[in-house]
């Protein structure tokens, strides 16, 4: 017989299936069922921050350093809105960040309930994708969907809003049925476009004939782990490479690399 699990337990299991090992978060009323289940899953290390903004930034830092999605957790209302600056930060720098927020029970949504806010509406322009989970039946699939969206193609932040009563709903859970269970970086090649052969030929022709070739390498080099290729191409073609913004893409002292261009000095 299959196990009866709560939405919160299913959420924990789905996180484990996604290879999550650490969460940064802060408990509160609408996310309490999740925190009730959390001690049953000691493989999920929870770091209790002092402000939800820090949870989002810490998850962002984890993602940038590991290449895997970082996860932050907050309650509804002020907990969720305190994540906003961190989500926007991740959105601008294309970090795979998964934010999980509690929401007031479904029957209370839209009634100005205590600590209710429309975090789906608020984060719409600063997430790659966000989703309100409307029933426990869709919870595991929703978790796997947002992780997939966060890390595939051009990475970015996602938000999953889980009403408190959905966290308490029970369901027979087989586990992993919908799981992407890829764990690691796992960008699916098929989702990433490829340049046309004619464009590649034209680009090669331009580089071969350029009198003053210059590479401006940005954050995409880090996202695609292309440091060695960048250096080899720069050396091979005598292109000078410079790093845009704050990108530490190449060892500092290489003759082919030079300084940071643009910096923040253009925008303060």
């Amino acid at each position: 017989m299959r196990e009866q699990l709560t939405g919160s337990q299913i959420l924990c299991r789905a996180l484990l299936e996604e290879g999550v090992d650490v969460l940064f978060g802060y408990p509160g009323g609408a996310i309490m069922p999740f925190y009730h289940a959390l001690p049953e899953y000691p493989e999920l290390r929870h770091v209790l921050v002092r402000h939800e903004q820090a949870a989002a930034h810490a998850a962002d830092g984890y993602a940038r350093a590991s290449g895997r999605p970082g996860v932050c957790v907050a309650t509804s209302g002020p907990g969720a809105t305190n994540l906003v600056t961190g989500i926007a930060t991740a959105h601008m720098d294309n970090t795979p960040l998964v934010a999980i927020t509690g929401q007031v029970p479904r029957a209370m949504i839209g009634r100005d309930a205590f600590q209710e806010t429309d975090i789906i509406g608020i984060t719409q322009p600063i997430t790659k994708h966000n989703r309100l989970v409307e029933d426990v039946e869709e919870l595991a699939e929703a978790v796997h969907e947002v992780f997939t969206v966060a890390r595939e193609g051009r990475p970015g932040p996602v938000l999953l809003d889980v009403p408190k009563d959905v966290q308490n709903q029970k369901l027979e859970y087989a586990g992993g049925a919908n799981g992407s269970a890829r764990g690691a970086t796992g960008r699916r090649e098929g989702l990433i476009g490829r340049p046309t052969p004619t464009a590649l030929v034209e680009a090669a022709r331009l580089i071969a004939r350029a009198e003053r070739p210059l590479i401006m390498a940005g954050h995409g080099v880090i996202l695609s782990d292309a440091y060695d290729e960048l250096r080899t191409l720069a050396e091979h073609t005598a292109c000078r490479a410079c790093m845009a913004r704050y990108t530490s893409t190449a060892p500092f002292n290489r003759p082919t690399s030079s300084s940071v261009s643009g910096s923040g000095s253009t925008t303060g």
């Binding site: 820090a54 340049p195 331009l206 350029a210 880090i222 960048l230 191409l233």
Partner: protein, 274 residues
């Protein structure tokens, strides 16, 4: 990259390698857009290209080199501190910077040995990012020193997270570049607002005693000869640690690009406005 798109690399033929097709040509017109994964595209280009030299171009670039005019009036230069951080960590550390002057010093002056070892809020420019983000970096790179480098403004935005580091045993090494100002805004006020330092002087608590209150070691560094011992002490301590560097109050970051200007119009020293 620039505050003036119309003046950006006007004679250039731009090849844009981009994962997201909607970004190609968004800001700068391109000759060729290559949509896809940067690594794969660079490999394909490498296969298609003969090795070549550009000696004239190299020689021309060499003439662009100019001395920097950053005025570190005290003994504590950003360059000296960042060099000492790298030396003390034997080149194996990750630097998480906040937003402002120190961020540009880190970007320009830190001698990176490995890719992706400078983590910062480059796009949104979120002050307060460094201290909490460094906690996440420690979790992802255990066993490697992780420095959160902040100014005195950004540090005070999220310094409550020292408590998280203590409770969760997350050994972030915190460095505060304290100049008593919101330095980047003050620099702009100096150059573009007639030195009207409106709301940029910023008071700080006693950071050494703040560290003490959280039960972690703290150092205040006022002279160049104190840098190494403080860094050594922070790195040797098995846990979070804090160092405050009292740097020149009105040091500026050069070159700076005025608002709306192009890359060819940088301000390179104080003398320009004198």
């Amino acid at each position: 990259m620039t505050g003036n798109l119309a003046a950006f690399a006007r004679g250039a033929k731009v090849i844009h390698i981009e994962l997201d097709a909607s970004e190609v040509g968004k800001n700068v017109p391109v000759a060729v857009g290559l949509v896809g994964d940067a690594r794969g595209i660079l490999r394909e280009l490498l296969e298609a290209l003969e090795a070549r030299h550009c000696d004239a171009w190299r020689a021309e670039i060499a003439t662009f080199v100019r001395p920097r005019f950053e005025s570190f009036k005290g003994e504590l230069s950003a360059e000296g501190i960042l060099g000492a951080v790298e030396d003390a960590s034997h080149g194996r550390c990750t630097v998480v910077s906040d937003v402002g002057q120190h961020q540009m010093w880190v970007a320009k002056l830190f001698r990176y040995q490995r890719p992706n070892t400078h983590i910062t809020s480059g796009g949104l420019g979120t002050m307060g990012f460094a201290v909490p983000a460094a906690m996440g970096v420690v979790m992802a790179r255990p066993g490697e020193p992780v420095w959160a480098i902040s100014g005195d403004g950004g540090f005070q935005m999220n310094m409550q997270e020292i408590a998280t580091m203590v409770q969760e045993r997350i050994p972030v090494k915190m460095a505060i570049f304290n100049n008593g100002y919101l330095g980047m805004v003050r620099q702009w006020q100096q150059f573009f607002h007639g030195r009207r330092y409106s709301s940029t002087p910023i008071w700080s608590p006693d950071y050494v005693r703040l560290a003490e209150a959280y039960g972690i070691p703290g150092w205040r560094v006022e002279r160049g000869d104190q840098v190494e011992a403080a860094l050594r002490g922070a790195l040797d301590h098995d846990g979070p640690a804090l160092i405050e560097f009292l740097i020149e109050q009105e040091a500026n970051v050069f070159p700076m690009i005025p608002p709306g200007a192009s890359l060819s119009e940088p301000i390179e020293s104080e003398a320009v406005t004198a």
